[in-house]
Structures are given as structure tokens and as C-alpha cells.
Symmetry: C2
Subunit: 156 residues, 2 copies
């Protein structure tokens, strides 16, 4: 049986995100999985995602680090629950804070790997450390604070 | 005479960025201007830029804050030069570090305003503070460190 990605466990209402929503036909549809205690996503930027010729623009790198982290946070929160409280769907997180250090230019045209570690999980808040690799070199690092939204979410 | 945006002063080679390149037909084509001592950009996200229904995804917010800052850095560096050293084109900056605090959900469908302040300029490095407004409310804040690339830029 094929392993489902974290984002495939979001409810229909919460599957529209441009970065990772399975229902957003225009978006990146990032998919994240457990790999032992780490979380992993892969993404291949396309030529329009250029910054300077040959390299990926910073906004895309921030976007995939962001969605990798909200997904990792959701999966970590789901895993923490007692089995009796665990639904089939995952909770949904939003980002409180995103920090990305661009360590070297990220080449375009190759498959990027994002690896996440759950640094902290307290209540509804999860801190995720992310490393982005291109051709086995570290190009960027992220630290992202995500927060589980309430079931009756209404931001107004 | 119409005021040119910072991004319209980049050389042709450096005008391909998805976030702000005037030559990227698929991208956001963000445009930034001086407004006194502040820098200002406007951008209207489209429906596919959704996070949760009704709100803008975090990756887009990070992207426009990023390109607003590289543009602001370029303009600030250009302004610092002695008149005799000042070319018609602007220098080009890349991002070393991007920090975004998402203070409240950013509604989709309205025109966003980004306002930047040059916090620090030392040598080739510029630190830009950015505030993102939607309908006059602050939705996100950014602190971005950008660095001017050398004229003979070759990251390999």
C-alpha cells in the first residue's frame, strides 16, 4: 500500500494551500513523509522559478520550507495524541514565524530534498528545523514555528 | 514622466526573478519605489494564492517581503554611491537571511501594501525591516538581510 503524505490527511476544507494543498491545481502540491524521526519532502523547481539565471528564487525556498514545516507540525501533533483521540485526518497548522538562512545559491533543475526535525512540541505549538539540500549540498536552513488552529477556526 | 520601479533598474541578466523580474512573464513582477525614506510595494494576490480559504499562503508573503527587500537594498546601495560612481542601473542583491512573523491571517482579494525601512547599511550588506498591511491592518513583519553580489558574480 502506498504511504500517504501528511498533506493527504488534511480535511478537504484545508487542502487548498498553494504550497501543499492536494486540491490546488496551480500550486506546488508539496508532499511530506516520515523518515524515521525526520520528515522529508522532495520538490523540483521549474525554469520559471528562477532568481538569478541558474538558481532558485528565495520565495520558493521559503514556501517549501514553510509548507514542509506546517505538514511536519501536523504529523507530530497527530502522533502525540492518545490512540483514542486520534482521528483519521490530521490537525492543520499555520505558521507563526519563519526564518530562512540562504547559505548558498540553490541550483535550478535538480530535485531538492527537505529534511525536518521536530525541535520542540509544547501544547499546540511545534518548532521545526529544516535543512534544504540540492545535489547533497546544504543550500538553506529554516526554523519555523507553527501552531495548530482550533477546530472552530475563524480568524476574523 | 512615470517613476521607474527599483526592479526596472536591474540589468537584463538580473531581471528574471519569479518574484520581481520584469522579464519573468510567469512571476509576480513586484515593483518597489521610494516614498520619502521608506520603500513601498503593492501586490494583489489572486485566488490560487490561498492558504486556508480566504487567506494568503505564507510562501507568497515571504516571497513579496523577500523581493521588496532585495529591491530596497539595491536602491539604498545605489543612493549611497558618489554621483560619479553611480551607474544608470542598480546593483543586484541576494538574500542572506529572511525572517517573517505572521501576526494575523492575510485576507485574499485585497491589495497588500509593503513598507520597508533601511535599518542598517554596512559595506555591501543591507538590513531591511518590512511591514505588510492588508486593509490598513498589519498582517506580517519581516527582517531581511540582503547582500550586494559582486559584478563578476559566479556562485559555483
Amino acid at each position: 500500500m502506498k504511504t500517504k503524505a501528511f498533506q493527504e490527511y488534511y480535511t478537504e476544507d484545508f487542502s487548498h494551500c498553494y504550497g501543499c494543498g492536494t486540491n490546488n491545481e496551480f500550486g506546488h502540491q508539496l508532499k511530506t513523509y516520515w523518515d524515521g524521526e525526520e520528515t522529508v519532502s522532495h520538490f523540483t523547481p521549474t525554469p520559471e522559478h528562477t532568481a538569478l539565471p541558474g538558481y532558485v528564487y528565495g520565495g520558493l525556498i521559503a514556501s517549501v520550507i514553510d509548507c514542509h514545516s506546517t505538514g511536519s507540525g501536523a504529523a507530530a501533533l497527530h502522533r502525540e495524541l492518545d490512540e483514542s483521540d486520534r482521528k483519521e485526518t490530521y490537525p492543520r497548522c499555520v505558521t507563526a514565524s519563519l526564518k530562512v538562512d540562504y547559505l548558498k545559491p540553490t541550483p535550478i533543475g535538480c530535485n531538492l530534498e527537505l529534511r525536518g526535525k521536530i525541535k520542540e512540541l509544547i501544547g499546540r505549538k511545534v518548532v521545526v528545523d529544516v535543512t534544504l539540500f540540492a545535489e547533497e549540498e546544504i543550500c538553506a536552513k529554516g526554523e519555523v514555528i507553527v501552531v495548530q488552529i482550533p477546530d472552530n477556526w475563524n480568524p476574523k
